[in-house]
């Protein structure tokens, strides 16, 4: 039986919150209660009760949604799946409960089976939101997205007459709903309670971490452009070779006030070992003319490889690296536990940065804005592509971006509500400027609209600023028919639009 936490319960003030303390925007937007479900039958029973009462259900696994899609639920109920515990099944394959934290998933899969999902890096992120939006992380260039491996989904939907329907969907059974669950994002069609995988990739034995940093104090625009262009060029060219797929890198562009910017990487060979580090040496040598220092700068946000700035088991070689067991490297960094005020944006890039784009970044990173401390900002430029870019998977899944070589995440963190307006405006202006260059179609100015150079935005990094554009669905779902497909799934499986939020698929 579910545990109900209402406004009188001492747990309510803690459980009503989002990790992003900007949400909900006002006290009146908080839910009336949180339902902590321990089983799928709990979820079904609670969901039926909520629908019968005419309330709105929202769903939470880890609580990391960047926008207010879960906690802005005035008078409604949040179904919290974090306590969902199902007895181990005798079924073949692997089962991941939607409420599990990714760190626990890694541990469980590794210790029981020696496999992993090619997923994220933050321990506390919940599987439900992470996987339903695609599921990408340090091993994605090597093994693809998590939804690429997904075989079936257990999901509760609400039929036209308001009855809860429990379904297991896969390629043979309700394949349209199954496809929609493979990357369209959470809060759209129903409540996913479990993900099933017939196969998963073997977990690597070991990985190496390395990093470089660059001094903002001596940085010039020319050198900044060189760093960005060298980085982007690699992923656009050499990074497409299979022997590099085990290389995952984040270039963290921070504001000049942080003193240093830099990159951090994780690598393993395709066989899960680190016997041959020539790919890493080759990659790091690209920056030798840019006056780097060994070791990545301390990460400003949550998206940086935690061990790339410290010395582990030293590897002999041209550049300092630390070698770690993959499990230790993946679990040890933690991540995702914090809370504060934050804003995020994203963009996929199919090709290298132009000089104009790099100069635009330099301009904003070196510009001081009175009254705004920009130390908490970082633009994480992740390597992408590799095994992700198997184009046929765009049709099988709802993760359609299969041609990008980099994925950008704009992150801004702060603590004081008084700083909201300045931070948000600055980031919005920077983003808009970056995507309004001379080659951008004016109709799509200020956005990375899918085309030759950009490939839209990531639904798991949702940005409600994009709602300002009538074409926002195309930013997140492309312009090749995926969004109309998702709308048809929505009409069929959630005709009363029970599951909705500001950026959910609309009827």
């Amino acid at each position: 039986m579910a545990i109900t936490v209402d406004r009188q319960d001492p747990r309510y003030p803690t459980l009503k919150r989002s990790r992003n303390l900007r949400w909900p925007a006002s006290e009146a937007d908080f839910c009336n209660r949180i339902e902590l479900c321990e089983s799928t039958s709990d979820v079904a029973e609670v969901l039926q009760r909520i629908v019968n009462a005419g309330l709105r259900p929202t769903v939470r696994s880890g609580g990391h949604c960047y926008e207010d899609f879960v906690v802005n639920n005035p008078g409604g109920a949040i179904l919290d799946l974090s306590l969902l515990q199902e007895p181990r099944s005798e079924e073949a394959g692997y089962r991941i409960s939607a409420g599990k934290q990714l760190g626990d998933v890694y541990l469980d899969l590794f210790k029981r089976y020696g496999v992993t999902i090619p997923a994220g890096d933050c321990y506390a992120v919940g599987a439900g939101g992470h996987i339903s939006g695609g599921g990408y992380g340090y091993l994605s260039r090597l093994h693809g997205l998590t939804v690429d491996w997904l075989s079936a989904v257990d999901i509760l939907t609400i039929d036209a007459n308001g009855k809860v329907v429990q379904r297991r969907v896969d390629k043979q059974h309700e394949p349209d709903l199954f496809r929609a669950c493979r990357g369209a994002g959470g809060g759209n069609f129903g409540i996913i309670t479990a993900f099933h995988f017939d196969k998963l990739p073997q977990a690597p034995n070991e990985v190496v971490h390395a990093g470089l940093s660059f001094d903002w104090g001596t940085m010039t625009e020319e050198r900044f452009v060189s760093i960005l262009r060298a980085y982007g060029s690699y992923w656009e060219t050499r990074g497409k070779d299979p022997d590099t797929f085990g290389l995952f890198c984040i270039l963290d562009i921070s504001h000049a006030s942080t003193k240093r910017l830099g990159l951090s990487l994780q690598f393993c060979n395709p066989d899960g070992t680190c016997k041959d580090l020539s790919v890493v040496n080759e990659f790091l040598s690209l920056f030798s003319s840019c006056n780097p220092s060994p070791g990545a700068p301390a990460p400003a946000g949550e998206r940086a490889i935690a061990h790339a700035s410290i010395t582990g088991e030293a590897c002999a070689g041209q550049y300092p690296m630390s070698r770690r067991l993959w499990l230790d490297a993946t679990i040890g960094g933690g991540g995702g536990e914090g809370s504060g005020r934050a804003k995020y944006k994203s963009a996929y890039m199919k090709s290298n940065f132009s000089v104009e784009e790099a100069k635009c970044m330099y301009k904003h990173m070196t510009r001081d804005v009175p009254g705004i401390d920009l130390k908490g900002f970082v633009l994480a430029i992740d390597s992408y592509g590799g095994a992700i870019n198997r184009s046929q998977l765009a049709e099988e899944t709802s993760s359609w971006q299969r041609a990008s070589v980099m994925k950008l995440q704009f992150q801004s963190y702060w603590q004081n509500p008084e700083d909201d307006a300045g931070r948000l405006t600055w980031l919005k202006d920077f983003y808009s400027d970056l995507y309004s260059g001379s080659t951008v179609d004016p109709h799509y100015a200020s956005t990375p609209y899918p085309g030759e150079h950009y490939e839209g935005c990531y639904i798991n990094y949702p940005d409600s600023d994009m709602l300002a554009y009538q074409f926002w669905p195309q930013l997140y779902y492309g312009d090749q028919g995926l969004y109309p497909f998702l709308q048809s799934v929505k009409r069929r499986y959630d005709p009363n639009n029970i599951f909705h939020h500001a950026m959910s698929v609309r009827l």
Partner: protein, 391 residues
């Protein structure tokens, strides 16, 4: 914007032909009446507020000064698709439901609050978004104590309750009731579509129809909270639309938008019970979702129904049984009658003709309840809502 209506009264009266019949439906009476001459200095008898949705640029609420059957437009205020208007019981405030899909980039409709000046002019006080996914609201009702608004949200399949502040402004949504359900009419009844809400005379109940799932709902209303009390399912594929409550509070009538019929229910308020009584077929189907309205005369003897495009049916009500018998079919050729209400003195029906872009004032015979000759009192585009404040 002031617009003198004397310009074209004669012109568009030429397009208004009326048929009035009880037994002889084909009898045509053409109006050659000219309206009595008035000037703008004449003290108004009241003000009419007309919501129109011509297109985005012209969508708004238009204020008319009323001097008998002489109306003059005195103000037009922008408002996005004001599908439903309601006056505060104190007559000082006007509320509008905006039938829109998006507000400030979010999928929801809105409600607007206006202050009414002594000269009838409107001033927007505030605009409140409806709940997320509360798109395309259809109808708005105000509690008899003037403290709450209830909105039937057609697109979003929900009801919203909003408080009204002392200054007449409308507060943020205080309660959301999400509806579910479906009907059998192809393509249209795939989900719940609340259509009309109304308070009963006690103010303790809210009656509501759902066009999407053929359901009549009764909610208790206490302490600013709506609670589901009853749900009555109508015949499949009816498409429940407007509600008219009999002044005796013993009966209520529901128009069915899909098949054009009218259902009569007995409303036993003390037992909080609704009993289906009978259905009247009209053979005048309307398109689902099309605005049509009906209203009961103050004395409770007649039910006026806009049905189809060109007709108003006048039904005589048996006060004991609620039974309806057709008394008159009143028609205007080449018209598209969209809305209907009564003037506060209950002596006229006010109807919008969207084809002729006219507002018609139709006298009601005091004894028989039959309708007389229509007079075009104002020119207006696609009128969707109309309410009159008499001084």
């Amino acid at each position: 914007m002031n617009q003198d209506m004397r310009w074209s009264r004669r012109t568009f009266l030429q397009g208004v032909g009326c048929t009035s019949a009880a037994s002889a439906l084909s009898k045509v009476v053409r109006s050659n009446d000219l309206l009595p001459s008035r000037t703008d200095e004449t003290p108004p008898a009241g003000f009419a507020y007309v919501g129109s949705t011509d297109d985005v640029s012209a969508s708004g609420i238009h204020v008319f000064k009323i001097c008998g059957d002489y109306w003059s437009r005195k103000q037009s205020i922008p408002s996005r698709s004001p599908i439903s208007l309601v006056l505060h019981p104190n007559q000082q405030y006007l509320y509008a439901a905006n039938e829109i899909d998006e507000h400030e980039r979010l999928p929801c409709g809105t409600v607007e609050a206006y202050k009414i000046a002594d000269n009838g002019d409107l001033t927007l006080m505030n605009r409140q978004p409806l709940s997320l996914s509360g798109t395309r609201p259809r109808h708005i009702a105000i509690s008899p104590d003037g403290k709450y608004l209830v909105v039937a949200i057609h697109g979003g399949g929900a009801y919203n309750l909003l408080p009204i502040a002392h200054d007449g402004s409308v507060g943020r949504v205080a309660q959301i009731l999400k509806e579910v359900g479906a009907g059998s009419y192809p393509g249209y009844q795939k989900s719940a579509h609340p259509h009309t809400v109304t308070f009963d005379i006690t103010g303790q109940h809210v009656l509501a129809t759902d066009e999407g799932c053929d359901r009549l709902s009764v909610f208790t209303f206490q302490n600013g909270q709506m609670m589901r009390a009853l749900q009555i399912h109508s015949q499949p594929a009816s498409g429940l639309g407007h509600i008219a409550l009999h002044p005796s509070s013993n009966f209520l009538y529901v128009s069915n938008t899909v098949d054009g019929s009218i259902d009569c229910y007995r409303w036993l308020v003390n037992r909080r019970e609704v009993k289906y009584e009978r259905r009247v077929a009209t053979n005048l189907k309307s398109t689902p979702g099309e605005a049509d309205r009906f209203i009961i005369s103050e004395a409770g003897r007649s039910l006026y129904v806009v049905s189809g495009h060109e007709s108003i049916l006048v039904w005589e009500i048996n006060p004991e049984t609620g039974e309806l018998s057709l008394r008159q079919q009143w028609s205007v050729k080449n018209s598209s009658l969209q809305i209907l209400t009564t003037s506060p003195d209950k002596r006229r029906l006010l109807v919008a003709d969207s084809r002729q872009h006219a507002l018609l004032s139709i006298p009601i015979h005091a004894e028989s309840g039959e309708l007389g000759v229509a007079r075009a009192v104002a020119k207006i585009g696609m009128a969707r809502s109309l309410i009159v404040k008499y001084i």
